[in-house]
């Protein structure tokens, strides 16, 4: 990244994203006002819908769970200097992997064996789907951006093919598999909390939110605490220096894509094992692409990605509330708001950052002067 501006780390990590968010909200508020709605009302409905109730909060976190997986996937690849656009396809394949083992084994395996097996299978399927473009990039020079996009298309048609021709029960009209047995069902958060004696409204939020938190922690440890992560980051920041250090850059490219794909592949745990209990179409529905925005907004750091995921989860959940509550405000307006956030925190960050830096500088100088006067 070109850092022609200098600011303290806290400002770079906290203040800057907040300023970007504020500018995005302002711009979106302007558009809301233009279509004759009241921006403050819309925002308050949105915030209340996302965080105002236990149920709303659960939905927000449920959406966020999926974004954490895809956001982390993008971030890991990014640290290896790779732009993985294929989170969507890898998540689809991951869901397929999760679903297939559930369909095959859930009838006779207990939960404690079934659920880990589904996680591993989903991760392996996602990994396999990412390793192929990774290999092609490392050893054949096909650009990973192109191949992962292509692999998204192949993945979605592959899922349709498998569902329609092999998994759909004979005579059924809808394109989906039979329901898994109980042992393949990841408990919902309300069920888990009920065991602990806490009352919580029913929602799609399930235990994979814990898995997502563990994944975020794991990515942090992998990137900044392990030798493999060190080497991956070296390759991503400076391939020529990595080569000088004796790091096998091609291995690292494949490894980076493998970890990335495995993370995306865990989306199936949230959607397939946690909510639907069967394999169906459209369970990813763009989350792979939202992951790119999440990683951008979260500055490719696990902590940032968790917060960005919650933000995007809130936009999904709150946006649905707004579309429901405010007359004449459609879901497309929420998509517009997301668009502004991606624009300002992704592309416009280089416009906003120097302004923030200059503002900080000015504020610092004022403080010092008043301090000097008082002292």
């Amino acid at each position: 990244m070109n850092t022609s501006y200098a600011m303290p780390r806290w400002a770079d990590l906290v203040l800057l994203p907040l300023v970007c968010l504020a500018v995005a909200l302002l711009a979106a508020g302007g558009v809301v006002a233009l279509v004759g709605q009241h921006p403050v009302e819309v925002i308050s409905v949105l915030v209340h819908g996302a965080f105002g109730s236990a149920r709303g909060l659960s939905y927000t976190l449920y959406y966020a769970t999926t974004f954490v997986f895809t956001g982390l996937a993008v971030a890991v690849a990014f640290h290896g200097g790779l732009f993985n656009i294929g989170g969507e396809g890898q998540a689809i394949l991951g869901g397929l992997g999760t679903g297939l083992v559930a369909l095959w084994f859930s009838a006779f395996l207990p939960s404690w064996l079934m659920l880990p097996l589904m996680v591993v299978s989903g991760a392996l399927f996602g990994m396999a789907w990412a390793v192929v473009p990774g290999y092609l990039q490392a050893y054949r020079g096909s650009h990973v951006v192109i191949t992962t996009i292509m692999f998204n298309f192949i993945a979605s048609t592959l899922l349709v093919y498998v569902l329609v021709n092999h998994l759909r029960p004979a005579g059924a009209m809808s394109v989906e598999s039979v329901a898994f047995s109980e042992s393949a069902k990841l408990p919902g958060m309300h069920e888990a909390l009920a065991w602990l004696g806490v009352a919580w409204p029913a929602s799609p939020l399930n235990l994979s939110v814990v898995l997502a938190a563990l994944a975020a922690l794991g990515v942090y440890l992998f990137l900044w605490r392990t030798r493999a992560g060190y080497r991956l980051r070296a390759v991503g920041s400076s391939p020529s220096a990595a080569e000088y250090a004796g790091i096998r850059t091609r291995h690292q490219v494949v490894l980076g894509m493998a970890v990335s794909g495995a993370l995306a592949g865990m989306v199936g745990m949230n959607e397939i094992a946690g909510v639907h209990g069967k394999l169906l179409l459209e369970f990813v529905s763009g989350a792979g692409f939202t992951g790119i925005a999440v990683a951008l907004m979260g500055r490719n750091h696990p902590v940032g990605i968790v917060f960005a995921s919650i933000l995007f989860g809130a936009l999904f959940q709150g946006g649905a509330e707004v579309a429901f509550e405010v007359r004449g405000f459609s879901r497309d307006m929420v998509v517009m708001l997301q668009g502004f956030i991606v624009l300002f925190s992704g592309a416009m960050v280089y416009v906003i950052a120097p302004l923030v830096a200059r503002g900080l500088n000015l504020a610092g100088r004022c403080l010092r002067q008043t301090g000097a006067r008082h002292g």
Binding site: A234, S237, S238, S240, A241, E243, Y244, A245, G246
Partner: protein, 513 residues
């Protein structure tokens, strides 16, 4: 100075120039007066503020305060266009030329005198030919820049500035990439230009050249002018002392008593071809013994970089054999950088930014690059952060890396301090063979002295050292034996006693010593 009365007009006068970057004062109340029709040397270490001062003059930066007068008139220079309009031209250290265009197209670029290209070309050509006649700056106008040798490119840059009406010419480290012969030619041209009334500002750190060419010299240190004098009153020792602020020992040490050890590295018949199948190294044979420093001289691009890469395992030859500390490698099974390190070879690469460090890593992460698998830094796949930080702190202490902050990003250190950290890392493992490319490129005089001392200490400890440098002075100061490369071949080998700038320079361009 002869005829100084007639030339007393002042070309550039900068008064009270202040320029701050954050907390750092790059220029603190700098005054500079350049007489018209003279060659004025501007010397100082990296970060002394000479480039900032010239950038203010050429309009890259605006000074926070201070005044500029050009030929007696107050001038406000907001950008390079303003500077050019005032008759100021600049030749940058890294040439600003478009490789895929011809020499003439480069001159014309951005200053086309007519919207029809053919008309423009004929006008520019006739004007350029007159200019070339009068100044002696000859360049093949229809050749692509990518085909021109470095010396020609530089002449083209000067021509470009003159074409745009430069009466004051700023040259930034013009001889860094030239052979001694090319340097001689350049100085001839600059003298002609001075005779014709052009004022020349020469930024350099080669004091010898200042003494030979300049009429007046200004020394900067830490953002201030510390000395300004006519060249007749200056001496190399005095200028070096003024630059650094203390006495420095740069040249060859007299007490070199050497004890040669075994042959630690032996390369035979090494031939390298690049991706375009062009021969880069041609049947190179080389021996390195413990306790010696072998200097590799040559004009940049004659195979020195490939030699370093092939010996350190970054590049595999198509033919040849290597014996490294008793271990034999063939072209079919060449060593890789990891194997090279494990057999006791350390490599300080030429390109510090692209190779030696990961610029976006903190210093403590760059300080283990290449050694991240050592048990002292990692165990069971986990990095030991505390040990890495501790190790970096020790390196910084031993090699006087400033600031002593292991958490600072690698790119935030000055060139000299980056180089010291890289040396600390590579010397820290007590290698048997040490390859060093451009040990002091972009490094301050004070740090150069320190780096030389470290390399000599390695030699005395029995290490076999190979130094590739484009600075002949450096080769002469360090080496016990010198190899000259030309077009991928070893053009000659001389013991240090027989080396002079003239004999090496001749070998470098393909002659016979």
């Amino acid at each position: 100075m002869t005829g100084s009365a007639a030339r007393a007009a002042i070309a550039v006068r900068m008064t009270g120039i202040q320029k701050r970057f954050g907390a750092v004062a790059a220029n603190a109340d700098v005054n500079l007066t350049v007489l018209a029709g003279t060659v004025h040397g501007l010397v100082g270490e990296n970060g002394a503020g000479k480039s900032t001062l010239m950038s203010v003059l050429y309009g890259f930066y605006q000074a926070d305060s201070g005044n500029i007068e050009v030929f007696g008139r107050p001038a406000i220079i907001r950008n390079a266009d303003d500077a050019i309009a005032l008759g100021i031209g600049m030749v940058h250290q890294h040439f600003m030329l478009v490789d895929s265009l011809t020499a003439m197209e480069n001159v014309m670029l951005g200053a086309e005198p007519h919207w029809l290209l053919r008309r423009a070309e004929s006008q520019v050509r006739s004007k350029l030919e007159t200019l070339m006649q009068s100044t002696g700056l000859h360049v093949a106008l229809d050749a692509l820049v990518s085909e021109l040798p470095v010396g020609d490119r530089q002449r083209l840059e000067i021509l470009k500035a003159l074409y745009r009406g430069a009466r004051v010419l700023i040259l930034d480290e013009p001889t860094a990439v030239l052979t001694p012969q090319e340097t001689e030619q350049l100085f001839g041209v600059l003298r002609v230009l001075r005779e014709q009334g052009t004022t020349i500002l020469l930024i350099t750190h080669k004091l010898k050249e200042v003494m030979r060419l300049c009429d007046q010299v200004t020394v900067m240190r830490a953002g201030c002018v510390v000395q300004e004098m006519p060249i007749a009153q200056a001496s190399i020792e005095g200028l070096a002392e003024a630059m650094v602020g203390r006495k420095v020992q740069m040249g060859r040490l007299q007490d070199d008593v050497l004890s040669l050890g075994d042959v630690l590295l032996q390369a035979s018949h090494v031939t390298v071809r690049d991706a375009m199948n062009v021969v880069r190294l041609d049947d190179v044979n080389l021996n390195l013994r413990g306790g010696e420093i072998v200097g590799v001289a040559g004009v940049s691009g004659n195979g020195q970089s490939e030699l370093l890469d092939v010996l350190s395992g970054l590049l595999a030859p198509i033919e040849g054999e290597l014996l490294l500390c008793g271990q034999r490698f063939s072209a079919a099974k060449w060593l890789d950088p990891r194997a090279a390190r494990s057999w006791g070879l350390a490599h300080v690469p030429e390109d510090r930014h692209a190779r030696a460090m990961v610029m976006d890593f903190a210093a403590w992460e760059s300080a283990v690059l290449g050694y991240e698998a050592l048990p002292e830094y990692a165990s069971g796949g986990w990095m030991k952060h505390a040990a890495m930080l501790q190790g970096t702190a020790t390196m910084m202490e031993r090699f006087d890396v400033r600031p002593r902050d292991p958490a600072l990003l690698s790119r935030s250190f000055s060139g000299g301090n980056q180089q010291k950290l890289v040396l600390a890392r590579e010397l820290g493992q007590l290698p048997k063979v040490l390859l060093v490319g451009q040990p002091t490129r972009g490094v301050d005089i004070g740090a150069i002295e320190f780096i030389y001392a470290q390399l000599r200490a390695m030699r005395d400890a029995g290490c076999a050292v190979l130094v590739v440098s484009s600075e002949l002075d450096e080769i002469l100061a360090l080496s016990t034996r010198v190899i000259v490369m030309n077009q991928g071949r070893v053009a000659g080998e001389l013991p240090i006693e027989d080396c002079t700038e003239a004999s090496l320079g001749l070998l470098m361009v393909g002659g016979v010593a």
